[in-house]
Symmetry: C3
Subunit: 451 residues, 3 copies
């Protein structure tokens, strides 16, 4: 009898050995659909994605047959699309001793053209490309991971297509270079100006547009920036007031993540770790191009204080929600909600995700009202206050904190109501039928069919 | 007995014959009040309207007696209002071989001056005037009909005067030319720049300001537009990035309605009709000044997709409301609401107008909360998403669709509540007293007295 | 017996005589804390306040020992902070026959430096300083009183620190000159441009940014302002379109309060008093630099009409609230709310403050929902409409009035609910436990500890 269990010891070993290749096969299979990323089989790309993520989605036009030399491309497109030829002529690509022609980036077979990915640009601009890719080391949020992480996030795939399309336009910063250097001039002077960043960096959750331009820095730029010499590198003494790139891409370094302490403001950070103190010193150095070092340090410490005060409020709200969850008082509860179309875990292990570390980022939709309130408090109000504090726009700080106050009060009130109702339900042993949410809407049947 | 009815056959004939002139007389009478348009007897113009709709409201100043020649006007006004003389001197009107003097547009009898209407400008600028008036063929919304349709809309007359005044300032684009070509320089270069359109084209329901300037097109303009040569016509190759007028008034054509497919986004359109395909080709041609044609077509198709997704949501909400109406569950119901002061039909045949085709545009006020929610979903959130998609500003698309989602959920929840209460009311055979709305507010007694 | 009362007649006299010095001592004591103003013992300043209110909070840096001459300051700071030296070199301070060196404003003892207050600047710029201080005569709101009144307002001290910090940044316009003339160039040309005002004058409650730039005036500035000669004084004929300073600081006068009629729009004003008629004439004169006088007068009368209509709505809402208060129907009532940490009066004589004259300005927090609604209607919606009307931005007028309508309706509905509940409570002789508000939040324990 003693040896019997030993006989079957190979069973879990075999299962484990099979599981590894099975896992690989599953992931490969899941990535081989028409979409891209981990959920590529759950969604279809739209035509326009080809321009935003060419590596995954671009197929060459078939309008024209033949293989062409650079000069031939130019000669023909001068008539067809004169605007881009004009831009190219004004660019360094056309002025260099050895010109960079259309065909050098797009290929010369007109039925097998490609749109240049960062790797193509990196063929010549190795330093900038290397710096840009280096952001990945610092995790998300970062420009270099913007597309990849988006495509692998289930809440991203689960959103209605119109929103996903809107999201992808900005997240394409990872998969092509013309988000900042617009084609086909690609000049650095253009990208140095704050407007180069603004199409994406505006509105919630990152009102950089609003907060920078409202600050004294931004107002100086608006008044005088037109007359500055933008061909100069982003170095001490070259500019009267800083711009996005001046501080975040100091000396033209194509890496904005290494100096980042508060990273978007999405979670609380201890600014006093030795690591963050090193980063803080780097920031003080940036500010000291114009301001005194001690003044700069105090202003940045003020940002830390603002953050502490913001998180005090956020934690208070989070606690209210977690207490409700612990007592089973959230309504509708996770198991009463329609699962995200792609959320297998959520289907079998329904659980209310509260706060950043539990994946609150996916709480855009299909959550109970009180959770949505917290999501907005965290993702919109809090991040607005953060940007206001970081960019020296007092209005956004005041507005963000006032909004957090109001949300906190609303959450407390709603919690009282949920508790009262929940206790009555428990007393009579009945549960109200769950509200519909998106059970019959965009987020279930429809998305399943149309993504 | 057989012939009896024949005797009275002339009765309806006479009534019909009398009704026609009676109708004419009634309309003439109704238009002959102190206001303007069909409801001219229900409201009084404010002094400032004289400048916005001079044909209807301007009376000459009486400050000065005498008849003057152009040179005399200039000589005197050089001292009185030097700014406008300076503008005139900088304008083509002062430089032409045969100068256009003040008196040529305003008349020369100082006690019988007039403010130039588009017809006055059209005396010389016949092409532009003709193109502008031609917009009327395409119905509303169009610039040329902006004033007329406003004055003939009962909800317009019924609004509080402060709002009507605000509305009229922009709608005056139809009745004077200086909305775009500011007096007294009137130069085309000025009107070619996007700011010429923005005073009116910003904010809900048409955030063109917000969406254009956030787009890459707008950001290029903001960065470099100051250095472009604005004296050049709006033609292929003349501008690095497009502006409002470049696309919507191609080659300077003073007609923005003929190419319009989605027209404001206020109702669903089939973009595949042969008529719309012709317009789409015109758009693709515009985009192809700079972009490849197939790329342009795909981007525009993306707009159609966004619209389809928006309308899916709007119809879902509309259905909820129409079901409620069919079951008599709207509260307060149309007959329980104060009628608009000027809404005779609504008084005798109260009916909840739901959706564009039933006149939802007049649902600004005095509707039940759930109808107001739908109105905002349709008129603010939806139109914001549309402009975002059309002008390539992803933030407005995402924001608009997320807002529509939230409204749809709110509408579904409110409908559940209305049904529950409505069924209880039916069960006990009682109806709750209707809520007040504007029964005693701006929209009834007060407007009646003050408009 | 007759004389007995006479014996003690000295008691109140002595009390009165003691009370006067006691009052002085108390106020002095209360002002001698670490903060500033009447509540200086209730809060601690943050490091950054030193730069905003140097007189109260700045302590010299201790980084460097020694006494230096102006030239020595420049020589050293050329390396340490080249940006500010560059600015100084471009300024008139460095070009004047008798140069104004760093030490002239900051002192020359490097361990006893000071930040220049308006008095320091006023040493040379006596006219401008005198005009600026003269604003105080006209009461609050005015720039010159911005800091003082803020620090002496209890609701200001009671706010969470992040908000107070944001507030103080703008209110520092009273206590230093570089809010408008940015250091260290300080040129007038910069401050003449509208951006000089915008960092503070944007967003609720004073959307000057939004309304000016959306107006035709602002749009002309945006289009052409870059090419205007900003070295010219703000005088008739020098500028094609007006800017903030052109109208409000005519001829460069550093006094914006003497011409103000509606002052922020926070209370109703009779524009027809002889005093206001004088001011109106001054305004008409400003407008007449470019426009005809009668046209200007009509436009300004239009503003009066808009204001009247706004106040009609505000008074209607105020009446609803005051009726509720009279009947004891506000919930939670003042005595059921946590007092502001610093509000001694509110603790012993709890009273709902409704409307401007009762101190509604302090109703940011800790008020019942219906009072908050009125506060927002008054302070945000109404003031937005005012600025729209004053700056000729129709969108803000329409938006503000529509928002006031909605709030008025919401207030009426909420009042109905409060009445129904209140009457039931009276009938059964019970009162529901008051809602929490900020009893356990930012506004009580936390602020008390952290301010």
């Amino acid at each position: 009898m003693k040896h019997k269990p030993v006989r079957y010891v190979w069973v879990p070993v075999v299962i484990a050995l099979l599981a590894i290749p099975a896992g690989f096969i599953y992931v490969n299979w899941s990535k081989s659909g028409s979409g891209a990323g981990l959920y590529s089989r759950q969604w279809l790309p739209q035509a326009v994605f080809a321009y935003w993520d060419p590596d995954d989605f671009y197929d060459s036009v078939q309008t024209m047959k033949g293989t062409f030399k650079g000069k031939e491309c130019v000669a023909c497109h001068e008539g067809v699309t004169p605007g881009i030829v004009k831009d190219w002529r004004a660019s360094r690509h056309s002025q260099a001793g050895q010109k960079v022609y259309c065909s050098d980036c797009h290929g010369n077979d007109h039925q097998n053209l490609h749109l240049p990915t960062p790797d193509v640009c990196g063929g010549c601009h190795a330093t900038q490309h290397g710096q840009f890719q280096d952001e990945k080391r610092y995790g998300f949020p970062s420009h270099a991971l913007a597309m990849e992480r988006a495509l692998d996030a289930k809440h991203f795939v689960d959103k209605p297509k119109a929103e996903v399309t809107a999201c992808l336009q900005c997240h394409s910063v990872a998969t092509k270079c013309d988000s900042c250097h617009t084609r086909h001039r690609f000049n650095a002077a253009e990208a140095r100006r704050p407007e180069g960043c603004i199409t994406c960096h505006s509105g919630p959750p990152h009102p950089d547009d609003e907060t920078y331009f409202a600050s004294k820095h931004g107002q100086l730029y608006l008044k005088e920036g037109q007359d500055w010499d933008w061909s100069k590198p982003l170095k001490k003494g070259n500019y009267k007031a800083p711009t996005c790139a001046y501080c975040h891409m100091r000396n033209g370094k194509h890496q904005v993540a290494d100096k980042s302490i508060w990273k978007f403001g999405i979670r609380q950070v201890n600014p006093l770790t030795s690591n963050n103190e090193v980063k803080r010193d780097q920031w003080v150095k940036v500010c000291s191009d114009c301001h005194e070092a001690d003044w700069s340090r105090q202003r940045l410490a003020e940002l830390d204080k603002e953050r502490k005060q913001a998180w005090q409020k956020l934690y208070a709200a989070e606690r209210v929600l977690k207490d409700l969850r612990a007592d089973g008082m959230l309504y509708p509860a996770a198991e009463e909600r329609p699962p995200y179309p792609n959320d297998w875990m959520g289907r079998y292990l329904p659980y209310e995700r509260i706060g950043f570390f539990e994946g609150q980022a996916s709480a855009f939709f299909n959550v109970s009202p009180i959770e949505r309130d917290y999501f907005e408090m965290w993702y919109f109000d809090n991040l607005g206050a953060y940007k206001g504090a970081a960019h020296a726009d007092p209005a956004f700080v005041a507005k963000g904190h006032a909004a957090m106050e109001r949300k906190l009060t609303a959450i407390r009130r709603a919690a009282n109501v949920l508790r009262t109702l929940g206790e009555e339900e428990k007393a009579i042993g009945q549960r109200a039928a769950p509200q519909e949410l998106w059970l019959k809407g965009e987020y279930t049947e429809y998305n399943r069919e149309h993504n």
